[in-house]
C-alpha cells in the first residue's frame, strides 16, 4: 500500500509537485547566474560557460533531472487540474474567490501552461540551436598582428587561434582549385585537411546567437517583449508556488513567515533579473 500511496494519492501528488517545483527553483537560480554573464562577462567567458554546460557529465546528469522535473511537474499539474475540475461538476452562479485567495494561487495551471509554452519556444530558439544546428556559428575574433587586421577562430586552449581564411567551413562551397589547409569536422573539431589529423577544437558561438536573436531588426523587439512578459508570468507562478511547496511538504512552523518572505523576494528578483538581460541586449548594447 505504501508504494502506490507515494505515487497516486492526492497528497503524494502534492509532494511530487513540491519537490519538482523546488528543484526547478534551484535550476532557475543556476540558469540566472549563467545568463548574467551576458551582461557582466565577455563573449569568450559566456561561450566557455556554454561549452561547460553542454559537455560536463555532472551538468548533463543535472540537465536530465531538470528535463524530467519540467515534464513531471507539467504532467502532474495537468492531471491534478483535470481531477480538480471534476470535483466540482456544477459551478456557482455567484462566486467571490478574491475574498479568500490570491489571483496567482487560483490560476497556477494557466500560468504553468504559459510557462511551458515559453520553455518550448526558448529551447527551440537556443537549446536546439546549440545542440543540433549544423550551421551554428563558431566563435571568431578580429586580431591585429603586424598592423594587419585578421579574422581568427578561437581555439579552446588559451592563446590558440586559427586564421579564418585558411579554414574550410562545412557550410561554405569548397574551391577545388585552392583547397584550404584546415577543415571543420563534427561541428567544432578542426582538422588538418591533408593529413586528416585533428589539431584543435573551437567554441560554438552561443553568445552571438543570443545577441543576434534579441537584436534582430525585425523580430528582436517582439522577442524581448515576449520574454519580459513570460518572466512576469513566471513571477506570479513563483509567488504562490514557492511557499506552497513548503506547505505541501508539511513545513508550516516558526520558519513559515521567513519562507514566505524569501519566496516573495525570490519570485520577484529572479524573473526580474532574467528579464533585464534581453532588455539590456536589445536597448543598451
Amino acid at each position: 500500500m505504501a508504494k502506490s500511496a507515494l505515487l497516486k494519492s492526492s497528497i503524494a501528488k502534492k509532494y511530487w509537485m513540491a519537490l519538482t517545483g523546488l528543484f526547478l527553483c534551484l535550476f532557475l537560480a543556476g540558469h540566472l547566474a549563467g545568463n548574467l554573464q551576458l551582461i557582466f562577462g565577455d563573449a569568450l567567458q559566456f561561450n566557455q560557460y556554454a561549452l561547460f554546460m553542454t559537455s560536463n557529465p555532472a551538468v548533463k546528469l543535472l540537465s536530465y533531472v531538470t528535463y524530467f522535473s519540467i515534464l513531471f511537474h507539467a504532467i502532474d499539474g495537468i492531471m491534478l487540474t483535470i481531477q480538480n475540475k471534476k470535483a466540482r461538476p456544477v459551478a456557482y452562479a455567484m462566486n467571490n474567490p478574491s475574498n479568500n485567495s490570491t489571483l496567482a494561487s487560483r490560476n497556477m495551471a494557466v500560468l504553468g501552461t504559459l510557462i511551458l509554452v515559453f520553455i518550448v519556444t526558448h529551447m527551440v530558439n537556443f537549446w536546439a540551436v546549440m545542440h543540433f544546428d549544423k550551421n551554428m556559428p563558431l566563435m571568431k575574433q578580429t586580431v591585429e598582428a603586424q598592423g594587419m587586421k585578421q579574422e581568427v577562430y578561437l581555439g579552446r586552449e588559451v592563446g590558440q587561434f586559427y586564421p579564418a581564411d585558411q579554414i574550410q567551413l562545412a557550410t561554405e562551397p569548397a574551391n577545388p582549385m585552392m583547397p584550404k589547409p584546415m577543415v571543420i569536422k563534427n561541428g567544432t573539431d578542426i582538422y588538418n585537411a591533408q593529413a586528416n589529423v585533428k589539431i584543435g577544437e573551437l567554441f560554438k558561438d552561443l553568445h552571438k546567437i543570443t545577441f543576434a536573436f534579441f537584436q534582430n531588426p525585425k523580430t528582436g523587439l517582439l522577442a524581448t517583449i515576449l520574454y519580459v512578459l513570460a518572466m512576469g508570468v513566471l513571477a506570479f507562478h513563483l509567488l504562490h508556488g514557492f511557499q506552497s511547496a513548503f506547505q505541501s511538504l508539511g513545513v508550516n512552523n516558526k520558519f513559515t513567515p521567513a519562507i514566505k518572505t524569501f519566496g516573495k523576494l525570490f519570485a520577484i528578483i529572479v524573473p526580474l533579473l532574467f528579464a533585464i538581460i534581453p532588455v539590456y541586449i536589445h536597448f543598451v548594447k
Binding site: L80, S101, S105, M108
Partner: protein
C-alpha cells in the same frame, strides 16, 4: 449599533426537486425583512410566504442555530456561510445586507456532496472519512483508564483542541476552487495525531482517511488558503501541513 429596520430584498435561490433532477436558480422577492433577524429566520419568512402562496418551501439544512452543530451550510453571494467571517450561516444576520440587495443562495458545490433537494446536500462523505480512521480504539471492558491519567503537554492539547473545533460543515470543500476536503481531513487527523492516545493508530489513521477522501471524489489541495479564511471555526492550514507530514511518515513505514 443602529436600531433594527425593515428591508426589502431580492433572492436568487437554487431550486432542485431531488438528487436526479436538474435544478435552476429561481428569483423571489421578500419584503419587510427585519435587519435584526438571522439569515435563516429570513429563509423561514420566505418559506411562510411560499406556503401561503401554496408553493413548495425552500429546503435548507439547519439544526442548533447557534453555530456549533455544523448542520447549516449555504453559499451566500459567492461565499461559504455568507459575507461575515468566523461564523456559520445561522450566525449571519440580515444587518449585513442593505435594502434592495440581491442575494444569491446556492448549495455547497462538490461532486462528493450531491444536492438532495434545493439547498440541502448529502455530506455523508465526511462521515465515511471519519469512520475510516477518525477515532481512537479504547478498551471498554470494565478496565477503562481515565483519559486524564495520561499527561498531555499543554501546547499539544491546545493545538489538538483547535483542530477538534472543526464542526464538519463542509465550508472548506464548498469554498475551495478544487473542491478539496483537506482542511477537514487535516483537522481530523491532527486532532488525534497531537495526542498520546492517538499515536497508537496514527499510521493506519492517516492512510485510511486520505484513501477514503480520495475515493469520495474530493479535489486536490493547491494551497490557495481559501478554506482557512472561510472556515467558521478558524481551522488553520497548519493542520493540512501536519496531515502531509503524518502521511509521509506513514507511507514510509
Amino acid at each position: 449599533m443602529s436600531a433594527a429596520k425593515n428591508i426589502n430584498i431580492n433572492l436568487k435561490i437554487w431550486r432542485q426537486k431531488n438528487v436526479k433532477s436538474k435544478g435552476s436558480m429561481e428569483s423571489y422577492k421578500l419584503d419587510n425583512v427585519s435587519t435584526a433577524s438571522s439569515f435563516l429566520e429570513m429563509l423561514d419568512q420566505l418559506n411562510e410566504q411560499l406556503i401561503n402562496e401554496r408553493k413548495e418551501p425552500v429546503a435548507f439544512d439547519h439544526d442548533c442555530r447557534e453555530g456549533i452543530c455544523g448542520m447549516c451550510s449555504l453559499y451566500i453571494n459567492g461565499r461559504a456561510h455568507g459575507p461575515d467571517t468566523g461564523i456559520t450561516t445561522c450566525q449571519l444576520h440580515m444587518r449585513m445586507f442593505n435594502d434592495g440587495d440581491t442575494i444569491y443562495i446556492e448549495p455547497w458545490r462538490s461532486k462528493a456532496f450531491p444536492v438532495i433537494k434545493d439547498l440541502v446536500v448529502d455530506r455523508t462523505a465526511f462521515d465515511r472519512i471519519q469512520q475510516a480512521g477518525g477515532f481512537v480504539s479504547v478498551n471498554t471492558s470494565g478496565n477503562t483508564i481515565d483519559a486524564n491519567a495520561i499527561p498531555v503537554p499543554k501546547h499539544d492539547a491546545d493545538r489538538s483542541f483547535e483542530a477538534a473545533a472543526c464542526i464538519g460543515c463542509g465550508a472548506c470543500v464548498a469554498t475551495c476552487k478544487n473542491g478539496s476536503a483537506m482542511l477537514f481531513v487535516g483537522a481530523k487527523v491532527s486532532q488525534y495525531a497531537l495526542l498520546p492516545q492517538g499515536k497508537v493508530e496514527a499510521t493506519q489513521r492517516v492512510m485510511n482517511m486520505v484513501r477514503q477522501m480520495d475515493e469520495e471524489g474530493f479535489g486536490n489541495c493547491t494551497n490557495t488558503g481559501a478554506c482557512e479564511i472561510e472556515c467558521p471555526k478558524g481551522i488553520s492550514l497548519e493542520n493540512i501541513a501536519r496531515m502531509n507530514r503524518e502521511y509521509l511518515k506513514a507511507s514510509l513505514k
